[in-house]
Symmetry: C2
Subunit: 146 residues, 2 copies
DNA sequence: GACATTTATATTGCGCGATAAATTATCGAG
DNA sequence: CTCGATAATTTATCGCGCAATATAAATGTC
């Protein structure tokens, strides 16, 4: 007998994978005006929330390895949006700071969350609820990955 | 006054983005045994479901551009899992067919969906419900992206 | 029927993201 | 001071994803 395997469309993992792409496609034209990619936008949001964070803090907040964040920050540095310098009191640590241009860019980003919410077709409470549910999924997966 | 921007963790888009990564990390060790990446696994699932599909059909099912699928299929061809040949009756079209090794690999993949479901911490009905919800999100986003 | 235009399909060219593994450098405990 | 732990970078890989492009078929035009 032949045991069955699901089609991609039947899988939860695939719906998440496909939704992430769809999200990216909605973001793309919005972020192009800022000269940012989506991961770069996430880094900027992180720094707009709290400037001067270390590489480790940024990677922790975004659930990515520091070896992913370093090149991201370098591109943002090359774009003139952040600077990277070693912490004086602990020379192991590198802190990312917004430049004037980096702070200024914030204004141009203010309307993006509203645009995205509109694109989701959800009202705010529904979006928050779904976010928390997907976040719970991530937490379970992270526990399982260890 | 300073208008506010959310932290990444507050955003639905970020929960989806992070969940996709977490999913990938759970899949990775399982798929390594098959010598596949996650997108390659999706292509194989598609062909296991229906062999001999065209590049266009595969891309449509996975919501990706054909320019993403072509190199994916080439890698699977290089791995000896599929063949690619032009349709005789319509020379624009390329069809992907499983090799014997490609069909055989299916057996080794049978237990993966169960492993993943386990890692989600959800029971089947809950997983299906969440899948449909995330799928609805994707649909809304696709409508908005046009 | 021949030629041009539009439509459908797939491939090429390019850059970014993501990670693992190895390296460098610094800190803190004893 | 030494050694283990911590932090970030470098290295090395490489796959993905798409825009732009090329090719083939279908359709329209005279």
């Amino acid at each position: 007998m032949t045991e069955s395997l699901p089609r991609p469309a039947e899988l939860l993992c695939f719906s998440v994978y496909a939704a992430a792409h769809a999200m990216n496609r909605v973001y793309k034209p919005l972020l192009e005006r800022l000269g940012l990619t989506y991961p770069q936008y996430l880094v900027m949001l992180t720094l707009w929330d709290e400037d001067g964070q270390t590489v480790g803090q940024v990677s922790e907040r975004l659930f990515l390895e520091s070896s992913t964040i370093t090149p991201l920050l370098k591109r943002l540095e090359a774009a003139g949006l952040v600077t990277r310098e070693r912490d004086r009191t602990d020379e192991r640590v590198v802190r990312a700071r917004l430049t004037e241009a980096g702070r200024a860019l914030r204004e141009k980003a203010l309307d993006i969350p509203g645009c995205i919410l509109g694109a989701t077709g959800l009202d705010l409470p529904a979006a928050v609820r779904l976010r928390d549910e997907v976040d719970g999924l991530r937490k379970s997966l992270e526990r399982a990955a260890d």
